[in-house]
Symmetry: C2
Subunit: 217 residues, 2 copies
Amino acid sequence: MAQIATIKKVSRTLIATKGVSGLSLREVAREMGVVSSALYRYFATRDDLLTALIFDAYNDLGASVERADAKASSESAGERFRITARAVRRWARRHPHEYGLIYGTPVPNYVAPVSTIEAATRVPRVLSKILSDAQEAHPFPLNVDAARDVDQFLEVEALEEVLVDVPREMYVRALMAWNMIFGFLSFELYGHYVGSVKNANVMFEKVLDELAGLLGL
Amino acid sequence: MAQIATIKKVSRTLIATKGVSGLSLREVAREMGVVSSALYRYFATRDDLLTALIFDAYNDLGASVERADAKASSESAGERFRITARAVRRWARRHPHEYGLIYGTPVPNYVAPVSTIEAATRVPRVLSKILSDAQEAHPFPLNVDAARDVDQFLEVEALEEVLVDVPREMYVRALMAWNMIFGFLSFELYGHYVGSVKNANVMFEKVLDELAGLLGL
DNA sequence: GCAACTAAGAGAGCGGTGCTCTTGCAATTG
DNA sequence: CAATTGCAAGAGCACCGCTCTCTTAGTTGC
């Protein structure tokens, strides 16, 4: 196996057990039976390795969600929304540290490269497709006022690339739903539901119900 | 000044400039003109120092929000909700790294002590009071079904201590609103709105409008 | 078939980290 | 005055990211 792939694989298992702050190049090297300086031939810095892992995590999550939606193509829009949202959650719970890598506190001075941004839109794209399909099937009565000034605070040109065929009236709620899903997972994974939510599975379904209502699904 | 207070103060300025991962006991000691081992008399470990800072951050945020709500006591419930939510956001934007300390990726193996949990409920308590006041003033028509099985997935006994006089029918939406506010801030502060939201001030107001609608405010 | 080049790891070392343990000093107390 | 206590200093351990030079193994070109 190419060394780069091995390094990333070992790093992922290390992150899975000790968290991202517990990832050290020296330990990766030790695990590989190689001296630490050898790794610098493949990753100039620890942050470069993290960037590669972030990129992979976005794509892994994106692929999982795309797969889930593809399998649910015959379902109703509301069901597809729930299925894909559950796929996001399942991935997050299975890879909590990789989730933290992409949706937790960013490493200081980290600037996402363009390729990462691209990978990060895969989940929103899936949710967007469901919205536009639903809107096409039976249009949801929308408040036209909501579309008037969205270009004042949203990057409509960029959003149109992701929210294809989604009416502008829905942009705010669509962003909210996206945000709510990941906000929920952060709260769940980071322990903010301890003492208030005892069955996150059920609570998540309730949240999905509310979001579906908000989105007219 | 007591050494403990000095250590925390220096730590806070250090965190503000270099982030939480950039906080080192040795640098704190250097800044104080003292040798690093001296600090271990006051904090047995770096994590203990962080725990103290987390506790302070929760209380600082809680006090800010309580103050904002107290000043808005004559306003309508909807306005109070917006004012306190804005206070949360203002605090988060002014103390992004302390925000990360409490709502970002937790340090591995970290377990919040009871005192911290108590401090963490100050914001929810304020939001809850607004809800119960509004419900008292003019009751919001609630779906009684929503109250039926909440004890199946929520810690109703513990929640009743915080959500005082808030009808159970609203528990899910109340938790969602709380979660949405912090989810929004995490997205805003951690750069997930780059490329989609260009004016977070306005977007936040739109989100508050939606949440107010959801809560009947 | 041999020389030249290249890819990849070894090893030493720098300055940094959290943390421990022993030592020394100074103030306070009995 | 003697004893105790509080507090900081200093040395040192094992780890970290990262840099630099050196050696080895393999490949290429003639």
